[in-house]
């Protein structure tokens, strides 16, 4: 029943019940009304799509990334468990080189992989820089800067709580057989995204002049945008050997 009346209206033929009126003017107004309602619907649609985009970027990407990171993290741990006698030096950089534990960020462990491209970071991991300044991995034992980046929001949001890090907070990097315990000593809450000096082996902006074993975390700021970069620096305090039960260092207990 509803069908016929609808179609009648659409064809511009008023049903007999309606009062007859000058047809052309009715039709013109009708056309305007249609255009306006079409425009309104488009605007509503645009609003809904933008809302969905927020849902996508702040919620759905986290789910996908966490799933991916868990899978890759499990793989790394399996490798470690299985590869006890596979000989040293076989550093598997494809699945990740270790895990970052930052108690102040309350986000558990973060897998660390090579590279900071979007496709890597979108898997919910932290990436160490290969460009523009190559990171010095702590496993090499050399002086240098272990520079890392991860997402602030979406895609796992692994560095979401970076602003909760204060001087003296521990940052622990776990590899197959060592715990590297860093202590935060400087933060830079806002800097230009072109400021690559923060990644140098001796980051002057952190207030250090001598070469040492540094770690640098970078992410975007303010939250939900990426106008600037947030930087946290730490220095290696000690290295612990991993025992048979992988007992974490006291900072993580």
């Amino acid at each position: 029943m509803g069908v016929t009346t609808d179609q009648d209206e659409q064809n511009g033929a008023p049903s007999p019940g309606l009062a007859p009126s000058p047809v052309p003017r009715r039709r013109g107004r009708r056309r305007i009304a249609l255009a306006v309602s079409f425009l309104g619907e488009l605007l509503i649609t645009a609003g809904l799509v933008l809302g969905l985009f927020v849902v996508y970027s702040l919620w759905w990407t986290n789910i996908l990334a966490d799933r991916q990171a868990d899978r890759q993290g499990d793989k790394v741990r399996d490798h470690w468990a299985a590869g006890k006698d596979s000989g040293p030096g076989a550093l598997d950089t494809k699945d990740g080189i270790g895990f970052l534990h930052v108690p102040a960020m309350h986000n558990g462990e973060v897998l660390v992989e090579k590279g900071t491209s979007t496709s890597i970071l979108n898997d919910g991991v932290a990436g160490y820089y290969t460009d523009p300044v190559k990171a010095t991995l702590p496993t090499t034992g050399k002086n240098g800067n272990f520079t890392l980046a991860a997402h602030r929001d979406g895609h796992g949001a692994k560095f979401h709580n970076i602003h909760k890090l204060k001087d003296g907070d521990p940052i622990v990097f776990e590899t197959k057989d060592k715990w590297y315990v860093y202590k935060v000593f400087a933060t830079l809450p806002e800097t230009s995204k072109y400021n690559v000096d923060v990644l140098t082996a001796v980051p002057k902006e952190a207030g250090v002049k001598k070469p040492g074993h540094y770690i640098t975390l970078t992410t975007c700021t303010p939250i939900y945008t990426s106008e600037y970069r947030y930087i946290v620096w730490g220095e290696l305090e000690r290295v612990e050997k991993v025992d048979g039960k992988r007992t974490p260092p006291k900072e993580l207990r």
Partner: protein, 53 residues
Amino acid sequence: MYGWIWRHLPGNAWVRALLSAVLVLAVVYVLFQYVFPWAEPLLPFNDVTVDNQ
């Protein structure tokens, strides 16, 4: 637009409501699976690295 779609769906009101829901889900799927992943890197909300470009 939505009225037009509604009028062109077959069946009675319940069938149409069901079909509409399916259409909405299909659109959301396409957005989440293809459109948003494509659009996200083009928008300046989630760049986390420092670089010199």
